[in-house]
């Protein structure tokens, strides 16, 4: 075997080896690498007990309540399966909205409510002008209307 073929083999083997090692390590650390826990994971007691952690999901529609002091808010984080109440006092990011993504950091108190000291908004990777978004929403409403209508025909 030529020396350069040997070198190439060493490099390929080395990269594969390091790749597999990295994959194994990252897989073992999966929970630590992930930024937040979902409400389902928290319910299953996978989140750390008695210390601060992050919880992520969607702000449940209609769950946002502002307290009288004007700074504190209460809302529910949901992953559409399980949900979790959160209390937070502070300034909310511009993108914080009902039905949108959110990540809150804080401690779970005995009352089963997360007392957050940081709330971050998570947005998606879709970018479009407001008119396009309106059109999309109208189309979705129309589609759900069609779905409802066809469901009724099926029932008949």
């Amino acid at each position: 075997m030529k020396i350069r073929q040997k070198r190439l083999m060493f490099i390929v083997a080395g990269v594969l080896g390091v790749g597999v090692a990295a994959w194994l390590v990252l897989n073992a650390l999966k929970k630590n690498v992930s930024l937040y826990f979902t409400p389902t994971q928290v319910m299953n007691k996978e989140a750390p007990q008695g210390r601060s952690f992050r919880i992520g999901g969607l702000v449940e529609a209609g769950s946002l309540q502002r307290e009288k002091d004007g700074l504190s808010v209460k809302f529910i984080i949901t992953d559409t399966v399980k949900s979790m109440p959160v209390i937070y006092k502070g300034i909310l990011p511009d993108l914080f909205k009902e039905g949108k993504g959110v990540v809150a950091q804080g401690k779970m108190e005995a009352d089963g409510v997360m007392h957050a000291d940081e709330v971050l908004a998570k947005h998606d990777e879709n970018y479009m002008p407001p008119e396009a978004k309106d059109a999309l929403q109208r189309a979705q409403v129309a589609m759900s209307g069609v779905a409802a209508a066809s469901a009724i025909t099926v029932v008949k």
Binding site: V15, P93, L120, Y127, M128
Partner: protein, 245 residues
């Protein structure tokens, strides 16, 4: 007629070729930067969710892509230098590193300035942001390791190993948003297409091309200096007209 590519793997030939190529990359880069920014700021509409702040994406995504792409090119050149013992490949790897590091920095900087108003934080230790930061440190490590070894051929080999091993990080950056929970949103450009309005896409891809052309131009100028430095004892360097008095 077949072109003899190996002819250009000789530093003496490549030096002249690189010099002739620079304007062919630099001028289109400047033109495309202007066009891309014009589309980005005057043609592309504001985003439905993020308003005007999303316009940072037009430079953030190209810089991030370039930081990963240049790393792979650098590691590729370094590997070629290691396998075939070609001096020019190693010089190209050395010339690419600072520009790659610059794009990694721009990616992190623009990302922080985008994250603060939208997410509510300059920085979070999520998998995407952390692995991009590691990429910047890999560039620094490559540059520092190369600079710390006096014998250039030994420096090439040591730095090449670091570059090759570090290339494992690039797919981790790309897939981090899929494999783990991150605050960072998913990729805008996927293998299946993009999730963007047309004018926004045009601006982003124009600036991506501009950044690539810019990176090539700067790298070619830099590699010419590296060639001169490392070949200074050869006859062809002493015969160059820009060296003559």
């Amino acid at each position: 007629m077949a072109i003899n590519w190996f002819k250009y793997s000789a530093p003496s030939t490549f030096y002249g070729l690189a010099g002739r190529l620079v304007p062919w990359f630099a001028v289109p880069a400047a033109v495309l930067f202007v066009i891309g920014l014009y589309i980005g700021f005057f043609v592309a509409p504001k985003d439905a969710v993020q308003g005007e702040a999303y316009r940072i994406i037009f430079i953030h995504v190209p810089a991030s892509i370039l930081s990963m792409f240049l790393y792979l090119v650098m590691a590729g050149y370094a590997a070629l230098g290691l396998i075939f013992n070609t001096r020019l490949s190693s010089m190209m790897a050395t010339a690419l590193a600072p520009t790659g590091a610059l794009f990694a920095f721009i990616s992190l900087w623009t990302g922080a300035l985008w994250g603060k108003p939208m997410w509510g934080a300059w920085w979070v230790w999520d998998a995407r942001l952390t692995s991009e930061l590691i990429l910047l440190f890999l560039y620094f490590g490559f540059i520092a390791l190369h600079a710390s070894i006096d014998d250039p051929r030994r420096a090439d080999r040591a730095a090449a190993l670091l570059a090759i091993v570090g290339s494992v990080n690039v797919p981790i950056i790309y897939f981090s948003v899929k494999w783990w929970n991150t605050l960072h949103q998913g990729s805008t450009i996927k293998f299946s297409g993009t999730s963007m309005h047309v004018a926004m896409q045009q601006s982003m891809f124009t600036l991506l091309l501009a950044c690539w052309l810019y990176a090539v131009a700067v790298t070619l100028v830099r590699v010419r200096s590296i060639i001169l430095e490392r070949e200074r004892n050869t006859l062809w360097v002493s015969e160059l007209k820009e060296v003559g008095l």
